[in-house]
């Protein structure tokens, strides 16, 4: 956990993983969680524009102070994991987060 602990009671059902913000902006629809190995302030702004609520940085990437500040202002939860993209996505997928924003049931 990096920041946004106060928003942790929010349930999420979908996620996507990408290092290209261009693709996130173009292809993502209603996913709540972004997994990425990219570290710059555009990651936070992209998530904010897409109404995403949580960003997970993979491969132990750490967001900068500026990014943490931006995320706080937008109420976005930041997390980091040492897992690589494929594995981190797999874990979330296994725990029930889907890819296309529709809740399975």
């Amino acid at each position: 956990m990096v920041c946004g602990e106060e928003n942790l009671d929010h349930d999420v059902y979908s996620a996507c993983g990408s290092d290209m913000m261009s693709d996130v902006l173009a292809y993502v629809k209603d996913q709540a969680v972004l997994l990425t190995g990219l570290v710059n302030s555009q990651v936070i702004r992209t998530a904010e524009m897409m109404d995403m609520v949580c960003i997970v940085f993979v491969r132990s990437k750490k967001p900068t102070e500026d990014m943490i500040e931006l995320a706080r202002e937008s109420g976005i939860v930041l997390m980091t994991t040492e897992k690589r993209m494929y594995e981190a996505c797999g874990l979330l997928y296994k725990s029930g987060l889907v890819g296309n924003g529709v809740k399975h049931e």
Partner: protein, 140 residues
Amino acid sequence: MSESVRFRFNVDGSNFTTAGQASVQVKKNLRELGIPAEAIRRVSIAMYEGEINMVIHAHGGEAEVIVFEDRIEIILSDHGPGIPNIELAMKEGYSTAPDNIRSLGFGAGMGLPNMKRYTDDMKIDTELGKGTTITMTVKF
């Protein structure tokens, strides 16, 4: 008939880190005005793509957002190199962005088509060596 509200921003073309600030601010302002969430989302994505383009392709410029009773207009003008072939630039996947931009997460050639997709109307006025003005409308 309520009066229209107008926001203006300078977009700093020399700083990739601050790119998108205007779009974040517009999103906040539109929320305060009580604009429908779906319209805010469309404005946000289209304006953010356009703002990033102004920074990575055109050394920055000015952004203006006008809120009318039933629609929002976004006007992005820059004094960059202009777009030589609009039809080509509008194609998904066409990008002249250099590798260093790609390593920052942009340059897939998806921005302009995405702006078109999320808006009800998009007009590009461009003159080589003079600059580009993109006017987008989102109805709600």
